[in-house]
């Protein structure tokens, strides 16, 4: 189960966020299967603007479902260089596939922060 719920090529933050780190120092952030399942039907994605900066553990926006709202926690620090407009337009994509549907692309301030993140197996143990 965890192999499909928590892909091994991603790194995980305990607040149920993932990072897909590219070679160019830019990472994609998203939320985990557990996060979207807990939230239920996602109806609103409200990211901070392109150019916003934040440290690891800070909020980069909000994800809101019919029943509740959740802060999006940045697994690593950096600057938003792109927002996934497809998810802004169709937030339910997060439920359909939380891994294909990244939320923001971020120019990382310190790629070494990845060492503090969890592997898929470690995250799966947590949830």
């Amino acid at each position: 189960v965890s192999a499909t719920r928590y892909p091994e090529e991603l790194l995980y933050h305990p607040e149920h966020d993932w990072a897909r780190i590219g070679d160019d120092g830019v990472a994609e952030f998203g939320v985990t299967w557990f996060a979207q399942d807990s939230l239920g039907d996602v109806v609103f994605f409200d990211p901070k603007d392109v150019g916003s900066t934040f440290a690891a553990g800070e909020s980069y926006g909000e994800l809101e479902s019919v029943k509740t709202v959740s802060d999006l926690v940045a697994p690593m620090g950096g600057e938003i260089v792109e927002v996934n407009q497809e998810v802004v337009d169709e937030p339910e994509r997060v439920n359909t596939d939380p891994y294909a549907n990244w939320l923001v692309r971020v120019k990382l301030s310190d790629p070494a922060e990845k060492d503090s993140l969890l592997s898929a197996a470690a995250y799966a143990d947590l949830v």
Partner: protein
Amino acid sequence: VSVTSEALSRTPIHGRHVELGGKMVPFAGWEMPIQYEGVIAEHRQVRKSAGLFDVSHMGQVYVTGPRAKADLQRILSNDIGALADGDAQYTLLTNDRGGIDDDLIAYRFDDDCYLLVVNAANAAADVAIITGAVSDDTSVRDVSAQHAMFALQGPLALDALAETCDVDVRELAPFHFAEHQIDGVPVTVATTGYTGERGCEILVPPGDAPAIWDRLLSDERVAPAGLAARDTLRLEVCYPLHGNDIDAETTAVEAGLGWVCHWDEPFVGREALLAQREAGAARKLVALAATERGIPRAGCPVLQDGREVGTVTSGTMSPSLGFGIALAYVQTDLAQPGTDLTIDVRGRQVRAEVRTKPLYRREETL
């Protein structure tokens, strides 16, 4: 994730919820399914076809005796004397301040026998209040444990009930009830509900509840629906939720529930309510529609020109309408439909407009 140390009650069909993949959550002391497939799908199912809700957490209280009617006329806000046998009525258990200790549906079986269906969280308190207020020869019995209760709601709900369970209440007007049998099991079917759709609520003996649940779900037009959809459905039609939109500190006048008060005769709280109605209530419960992206939530301040003028008591994204909706208490001078207000959603200012209730009205089919 909330952790509770209290033991939660389970309804007679708890096992069915688990088998159906229901996500179980604590609600008013009960372990209840908040959703199965997803709140939006379940909401649409009820608006387009039929949804089946387990509402066995609701409390049932019999009030019987020769003076039951006169007692209830004094204790409840609405005119119970207007009911004929087989009639049901939405009414309030008001306190002497005009506040609302509970809202409920009263069913008249006969002149001496009434059934009250009350909110789960208030059932014990209601029984205590009513017991303390009735005549010596009036009996008040909490029979919640002897009843499971289902709500079958949606435009095709009564067709499904007629064709799958051989119980035809399609000619029964809203707010009536009748005794029937499903597979030989005696049930009480009332044309009531909390969704704004046609449909019914069914009182069932607990031991037979799983079989009747299965029977109802065997109709392909029917799918299970959870508490989350129940909440979005009721909010679209602006039915108040006790504990959120109305409570012991909000009055029937403020909540716009003067229409369920029999002003001509004494009832608990009438003097306070008449005085408030005369003087004019300072606040009113209004329906708000967000006119830009954003979802109001309970507790969000309502502003005009940066000044706080009210508070949201319930809010959600409306699956039927596609925008954020809310119930909120606002200053009475700002309660007129068309008034532009702002809702402070966690620091973000979301424009909203006061709208006429209900926010959603079902399509009338002929």
